[in-house]
């Protein structure tokens, strides 16, 4: 069973999605990340999707779910690197990912994540 690797860096968890995920793989990542946030007491999660050339409603929902679950577990989530064509398509599909923090690239994403975590009292 393949898995998307989750890296720990201090109080943050980092995920880079580099393959076109089938649905079970996406669900596995959602479960794994939720477990790791709890186990590592992570205060922030950064998910880089710059390699993804398609985000459909299933993957979009996974991203929204991770962000919501992390919030309930007192962690902040930032999604980075969404391609412009993916953003256009997602909005036309009807998914605007409300409540999900985004940044153009990983560098800006880490800066945003630090600010979010600081603001939440972490």
């Amino acid at each position: 069973m393949d898995r998307i690797p989750i890296l720990k860096m201090g109080e943050y968890l980092l995920v880079t999605i580099q393959v076109d995920m089938h649905d079970q793989l996406a669900l596995q990542l959602q479960d794994d990340l939720t477990q790791r946030i709890s186990r590592e007491s992570a205060s922030g999660v950064l998910i880089d999707i710059s390699s993804l050339d398609v985000v459909d409603s299933f993957i979009g929902r996974m991203i929204a779910n991770i962000s919501a679950m992390a919030r309930v577990l007192d962690a902040q989530t930032v999604v980075t690197g969404m391609r412009p064509a993916v953003a256009i398509t997602l909005v036309e599909l009807g998914m605007s990912l409300e409540g999900v923090h985004t940044a153009l690239n990983v560098e800006r994403g880490m800066a945003l994540l630090r600010r979010k975590v600081a603001a939440s009292g972490g």
Binding site: H22, D23, V54, I88, L93, M95
Partner: protein, 154 residues
């Protein structure tokens, strides 16, 4: 509007089939497992690139295909997708036809509304795919299942 004849329900967007076109390069791919959806996305992407689609158009048709393939798998119990190149004069297009032998969709108008789902999804599949395609048609019956056709013109 949805037309009904017997147990058959049909919905087509106004432009559907309005352009006389010739069909070539017809391939059929199975939709039995979720890995098949990944494979199909790759094939549709390759075909769209070969037809000269721009990046946004490629992304739209691949995303629409992904939604409809998942519908065929989750609600239709699996099926097939037919991928065909279209040409009409100087225009190229890609036509995708998703066929399943599932229980069919009783109320197509309702199923096309955002947020309507009879399963675990978000209910963006059919309505979203319709918005992402140039032309869209759906035929459904409890006897023969569901056939959804989308065309994206370059």
């Amino acid at each position: 509007m949805v037309e009904r004849s017997g147990s058959q329900r049909v919905f087509r967007t106004p432009g559907f089939g309005a352009v006389a076109s010739t069909t070539s390069q017809v391939d059929e791919l199975p939709l039995r497992r979720s890995e098949d959806i990944v494979r199909m996305r790759q094939v549709v992407r390759e075909r769209a690139v070969r037809l000269g689609f721009g990046l946004v158009d490629q992304t739209k048709i691949v995303t629409a295909a992904s939604e409809l393939a998942r519908n065929a798998l989750v609600y239709g119990g699996g099926g097939v997708v037919e991928v065909a190149d279209l040409s009409a004069g100087a225009r190229n297009g890609l036509r995708l036809t998703f066929v399943d032998r599932g229980p069919g969709i009783d109320d197509i108008q309702q199923a096309l509304k955002d947020g309507f789902t009879s399963g675990t999804g978000l209910g963006l599949g059919l309505g979203g795919a319709r918005r992402l395609a140039s032309d869209f048609a759906i035929e459904s019956s409890p006897d023969s299942g569901t056939r959804v056709t989308i065309v994206r013109w370059r």
